[in-house]
C-alpha cells in the first residue's frame, strides 16, 4: 500500500505544486518527547503488531481457502458445519489476547492520571477560534492567534513551512518540569492537543479539566484544536515552545515587564498614524477571520464593516460593541481579551480603512476610562 501510494503521490506531486515539496509520507505515529507519549507509542505498536499477527493467521486461512478450494480447481465441498471445541477455543483465545492488551493499557492510563504536585500551572481557555494561556502563578496571560496570512490560505501566496501551525504567541514551558494544564472554554467545546506530548484534553465551557506533561527535549511543538468548534476550527493551532529553565525564567520576567509596558502604552499620547498602523496588525489578528481583511465580512453572520452602520456611525456605539460584544451573535466581548492600545487602534482603523472616512480616532486612555466608568 505504502509503495503504491508513494508512486501515485510522487507522480501527482511532481505534476503539481511547489508547496508539496514540504510534504512527507509519514505513515506512523511519532514517539513524541514525553514519557507519556512514548508509553502511548509503545502501546500503539504492541496492539498494532498483535492485530497484524491475528490478521495474518485469519486472512492466511481465508486466502488459502480461496486459492485451494475453488470450484474451478474441482474442489468438492466438505460437509462440516459446527465443531464445539473449535468454537469454544476461538472464543477463549481472543479473550486471553485482550487481557494481554489490557494490562499495559491500564498501567499507562493510571500513569497519565498522576496527581502529584506540579511545578507550573497554566490555564488554557478555548475561544472561537484562539487559545488563551494564563500563567496563573505569575499573573500574566495572553491570547495565541493563528498568524498564517489570509493570502496563503486563499492560495495567493506561497505557503510557508508551518502553514496553519504558526501563532503569534506560543505557549512557553521549561524542559524537565512538570507542567499542569487547566483547561476550560469560553463558548463551545474545544480540544487542546499536542501530539508530541501525548496530551489531548477537551476544553468544556463551565467545566475545568486537567492534564499534565513533562517535556525533556527543548523545541517547538505544534498541534491543533481537535474538537469541531465552528467555522474556523481548522485555524486554531497550538504551538508550545519548550525551553531550558533559565531561558524560561528570563521569558517570564520579560512577560511581566511587557505587561507593565502595556499599561504605559495606554498612558502614551497616540497619533492617528500610529493607531492606524497598530490597528491594521491587530485587526488582521483578531477581526479578519470573520469580518475579512478587506472589511467585507460574510453576511449575514458576520456583517461588513466597510461602509457598515457601526463602523461609520456613532463612536460610542462602536466602542460598546467591540468592548462588550453583542450577545446572541458571534461578536465577542473583546474588552477582556485585548489591551486598551489594541482596542483603540482597531476601532480607529475600522473607522478609517477601506474607504471608511469617519476621520475620528479614539485613544487607549479613552478606552481605559470607558471600561472603568461604564
Amino acid at each position: 500500500m505504502r509503495v503504491h501510494a508513494q508512486r501515485a503521490g510522487a507522480l501527482l506531486g511532481g505534476l503539481s505544486f511547489p508547496a508539496l515539496s514540504f510534504a512527507d509520507w509519514t505513515v506512523n505515529m511519532t514517539p513524541g518527547v514525553t514519557g507519556t507519549s512514548n508509553d502511548i507509542f509503545d502501546l500503539h505498536m504492541t496492539i498494532f503488531w498483535i492485530c497484524v499477527a491475528i490478521g495474518v493467521v485469519v486472512f492466511g486461512i481465508m486466502f488459502w481457502s480461496i486459492f485451494a478450494h475453488r470450484k474451478s480447481q474441482g474442489a468438492k465441498p466438505a460437509n462440516f458445519h459446527e465443531n464445539t471445541l473449535v468454537e469454544v477455543l476461538w472464543t477463549l483465545i481472543p479473550l486471553v489476547i485482550l487481557v494481554i492488551m489490557a494490562i499495559p493499557a491500564t498501567a499507562t492510563l493510571v500513569d497519565m492520571y498522576d496527581t502529584t504536585e506540579s511545578d507550573i500551572d497554566i490555564k488554557v481557555t478555548g475561544y472561537q477560534w484562539k487559545w488563551q494561556y494564563e500563567y496563573i502563578n505569575e499573573d500574566f496571560g495572553y491570547f495565541s492567534n493563528l498568524t498564517t496570512p489570509a493570502d496563503q490560505i486563499s492560495n495567493r501566496q506561497t505557503k510557508g513551512e508551518n502553514y496553519l501551525l504558526e501563532v503569534d504567541n506560543p505557549m512557553v514551558i521549561p524542559v524537565g518540569k512538570k507542567v499542569r494544564f487547566l483547561l476550560t472554554a469560553n463558548d463551545v467545546i474545544h480540544s487542546w492537543w499536542v501530539p508530541d506530548f501525548g496530551v489531548k484534553k477537551d476544553a468544556i465551557p463551565g467545566f475545568i479539566n486537567e492534564a499534565w506533561t513533562r517535556v525533556d527535549v527543548p523545541g517547538t511543538y505544534r498541534g491543533q484544536c481537535t474538537e469541531l468548534c465552528g467555522k474556523n476550527h481548522g485555524f486554531m493551532p497550538v504551538v508550545v515552545k519548550a525551553v531550558p529553565e533559565e531561558e524560561y525564567n528570563t521569558w517570564v520576567a520579560d512577560q511581566k515587564a511587557a505587561a507593565e509596558k502595556e499599561r504605559e502604552l495606554t498612558e502614551k499620547d497616540w497619533t492617528m498614524e500610529e493607531l492606524m498602523a497598530r490597528g491594521e496588525k491587530a485587526y488582521a489578528l483578531n477581526c479578519a477571520a470573520c469580518h475579512q481583511a478587506d472589511g467585507s465580512g460574510a453576511p449575514p453572520a458576520f456583517p461588513a464593516l466597510k461602509g457598515g452602520a457601526i463602523a461609520t456611525g456613532e463612536m460610542a456605539a462602536h466602542i460598546d460593541i467591540v468592548v462588550n460584544g453583542k450577545s446572541g451573535t458571534a461578536m465577542q466581548a473583546f474588552g477582556g481579551q485585548l489591551n486598551e492600545a489594541d482596542l483603540a487602534a482597531i476601532i480607529t482603523y475600522e473607522r478609517n480603512a477601506w474607504g471608511n472616512k469617519v476621520g475620528d480616532m479614539v485613544t487607549p486612555k479613552e478606552i481605559f476610562d470607558y471600561k472603568n466608568q461604564q
Binding site: F17, V27, E87, G223, T226, L228
Partner: protein
C-alpha cells in the same frame, strides 16, 4: 426496477392500482422494499456528492472550492444523509423484500404502517436537505451535533434539522415494529426461531436495537429543541446544565446505532458466503449468540467515544474493557465465515467478491477499532483522521459492500433477470480499489496528526490527502456503474433460474420470481 411494477400489474385480479397512486398507496412488501432501495440509492448519491465536495476541497492545502462554513455543512450533511438516508433505509428495503420470503409469510405483518413508514422518509429528507437553502445555512456542527455548538451556537435551521430527525426516528421505529411483528407472528409452520435464516435473525435483533435507541435520539433532540426554543438548560452550563451530558445521551444512542448499520449486513453475508462456498454456514448457533452478545454489549460502551472529555480513570477502564470485549463475538463471526469458506467449493461471482472484501476490510476496521478502544492510545487517535479511516472502513466495506453484495445476490429474485456479471465485477474492482485508495491513507494522516473536520490542513498532510481524494473520486464515480447495472437488469437480460445460485438455501429459493404480490396463496375470500 420499475419494470417490476409495469409488467405484472394486471396479472392479478386483486392487483395493485396503476400509475403514481400504485406507489403512493401500495401495501405490498416488495413495492415498498423497492421504494426503500431506490430512495436509499438516491440518498447515497446525494451524500456521495457531498463527500466529493469535501474531498475536492481537501485535494490540496489552502481553500479553493468552498469556504469553511459550507465545508462544515457538507461534512454534517454527508454524515447524516449516509447514516439515516442511505444505510438504514437500504437495510429496511432489504428486510421488506426478503424477510417475508425467507420466513414464508404472505407480506409484512403491518402493511399499511409499512407504507406510512416509507413515505415519512422522503418528507424528513426534504426538510433536512432544504436547510441548505435557508438563511444561515444547513446544520454545520457535525453529524454528532455536540452541544453547545449545535444549541447556543447553531444556525437557525437547527430546528428544522431536529424536526427531520424526529420524523426519521418515527419512520425507523415503525419499520422496526413491523419487522418484529412479522418475524414473531408470521413464520411458516415449523420454522422455529433457531431455524430462522441469519438475515432474519440479525434483523430481528436490529429491530430491538432500533426500538431501544431511536427514542433516546428523539429524546436528546427534543432536549436540544427545548434548550434552543423554550429556554431550558439541559446542556447549557450557564443555566446549570452540562454539555457533557449531551455526549453521554447521544452516544447511548450512537453506539448501538453503529451496530444497527452493520448487523443486517452480517446477516446477508452469512447467506452469501455459504451460497458461493456450496457449504452450510459454519456455527449457526454461535452466530446467533454472537449477534445477541454484540447487541447487548453495545449498550455498555458508549463512553469510549468520550475518553478525552475527562472521564475519571475508573470510568475509562470500565469502558475500555467493555469495548475490548465486543471483539470476542465479532471475532467469532469472522472465524465462522472463514470456516465456512474453508474446504468449500468456491466461486467468485460479484456477491461473493463483495462478501470476501466485506470480511477482510471490515476486519481491518475492527482492528483499528481495537486500537481505538485502548484508552491511552485513544488520546492520540481521538478526533483525528485515524477515526475517520476507522469508521469508513467499518461502514463502506461493511455496510455499503454488504448492501451491494445483497443487491447482486438477490437481484435475480427481484427482477427475474441475471445482472451483467462482467459489469458487476468491474463495479466491484473499481469500488474496491477506489475505496482503499480513499480511506487507507487516512490512517496515516490521523497518525501523523491531522484532526478531522478541518477544511484546510498543514503541508505535511498534503500528499496523502491528494491520494485519498483521487481514490474518493474513483469510488464515487464508480457507483454510477451500479445504477447502470441495476437498470439494465430490471429492464431485461438473461432469465434467471428459480434458484440462481446453486449453493443457496432457504424458502426464498423455492418459488418463482417477479411476483409483485404475495408469493404464497391467500385463502379465498
Amino acid at each position: 426496477m420499475s419494470a417490476v411494477a409495469d409488467t405484472h400489474a394486471q396479472d392479478h385480479h386483486h392487483g395493485p392500482a396503476s400509475g403514481i397512486s400504485r406507489w403512493l398507496l401500495t401495501t405490498n412488501h416488495k413495492d415498498i422494499g423497492t421504494m426503500y432501495l431506490i430512495f436509499s440509492f438516491t440518498m447515497f448519491l446525494l451524500g456521495g456528492t457531498m463527500a466529493m465536495v469535501i474531498r475536492a476541497e481537501l485535494f490540496q492545502p489552502g481553500l479553493q472550492i468552498v469556504q469553511p462554513e459550507f465545508f462544515n455543512q457538507m461534512t454534517t450533511m454527508h454524515g447524516l444523509i449516509m447514516v439515516f438516508g442511505a444505510v438504514m433505509p437500504a437495510f429496511v428495503g432489504l428486510a421488506n423484500w426478503m424477510i417475508p420470503l425467507m420466513i414464508g409469510a404472505p407480506d409484512m405483518a403491518l402493511p399499511r404502517m409499512n407504507n406510512w413508514s416509507f413515505w415519512l422518509l422522503p418528507c424528513a429528507f426534504l426538510i433536512l436537505v432544504s436547510t441548505l437553502f435557508m438563511e444561515g445555512g444547513a446544520p454545520n456542527f457535525g453529524w454528532t451535533f455536540y452541544a453547545p455548538l449545535s444549541t447556543t451556537y447553531g444556525p437557525p435551521s437547527t430546528t428544522f434539522f431536529i424536526f427531520a430527525i424526529h420524523i426519521m426516528g418515527v419512520s425507523s421505529i415503525m419499520g422496526a415494529i413491523n419487522v418484529i411483528a412479522t418475524v414473531l407472528n408470521m413464520r411458516a409452520p415449523g420454522m422455529t426461531l433457531m431455524k430462522m435464516p441469519m438475515f432474519v435473525w440479525t434483523w430481528l435483533i436490529t429491530a430491538f436495537l432500533l426500538i431501544a435507541v431511536m427514542p433516546v435520539l428523539a429524546g436528546v433532540v427534543t432536549m436540544m429543541l427545548m434548550d434552543i426554543n423554550f429556554g431550558t438548560s439541559f446542556f447549557n452550563a450557564a443555566g446549570g446544565g452540562d454539555p457533557v451530558l449531551f455526549q453521554h445521551v447521544f452516544w447511548f444512542f450512537g453506539h448501538p446505532e453503529v451496530y444497527i448499520m452493520i448487523l443486517p449486513a452480517f446477516g446477508a453475508i452469512s447467506h452469501i458466503i455459504p451460497a458461493f462456498s456450496r457449504k452450510r454456514l459454519f456455527g449457526y448457533a454461535s452466530m446467533v449468540y454472537a449477534v445477541g452478545a454484540i447487541a447487548l454489549l453495545s449498550f455498555l460502551v458508549w463512553a469510549h467515544h468520550m475518553f478525552t472529555v475527562g472521564v475519571p480513570v475508573a470510568g475509562q477502564l470500565f469502558f475500555m474493557y467493555a469495548t475490548l470485549l465486543i471483539a470476542v463475538p465479532t471475532g467469532v463471526k469472522v472465524f465462522n465465515w472463514v470456516a465456512t469458506m474453508f474446504r468449500g467449493s468456491l466461486t467468485f461471482e460479484a456477491p461473493m467478491l463483495f462478501a470476501i472484501a466485506f470480511v477482510i476490510l471490515f476486519s481491518i476496521g475492527g482492528f483499528s477499532g481495537l486500537m481505538l478502544a485502548i484508552a491511552p492510545a485513544d488520546f492520540q487517535y481521538h478526533d483525528t483522521y485515524f477515526v475517520v479511516a476507522h469508521f469508513h472502513y467499518v461502514l463502506v466495506p461493511g455496510a455499503i459492500f454488504g448492501i451491494f453484495a445483497s443487491a447482486y445476490f438477490w437481484l435475480p429474485k427481484w427482477t427475474g433477470h441475471m445482472y451483467d456479471e462482467t459489469l458487476a465485477k468491474t463495479h466491484f474492482w473499481l469500488s474496491f480499489i477506489g475505496m482503499n485508495l480513499a480511506f487507507f491513507p487516512m490512517h496515516f494522516l490521523g497518525l501523523a496528526g491531522m484532526p478531522r473536520r478541518i477544511p484546510d490542513y498543514a503541508l505535511q498532510f498534503a500528499d496523502f490527502n491528494m491520494v485519498s481524494s483521487v481514490g474518493a473520486f474513483m469510488f464515487g464515480s464508480t457507483q454510477l456503474l451500479f445504477l447502470l447495472i441495476v437498470v439494465k437488469c430490471a429492464r431485461g437480460g438473461e432469465k434467471a433460474p428459480a434458484n440462481p445460485w446453486d449453493g443457496a438455501e432457504g424458502l426464498s429459493g423455492k418459488y418463482p420470481h417477479r411476483r409483485p404480490t404475495t408469493p404464497f396463496p391467500l385463502p379465498q375470500k
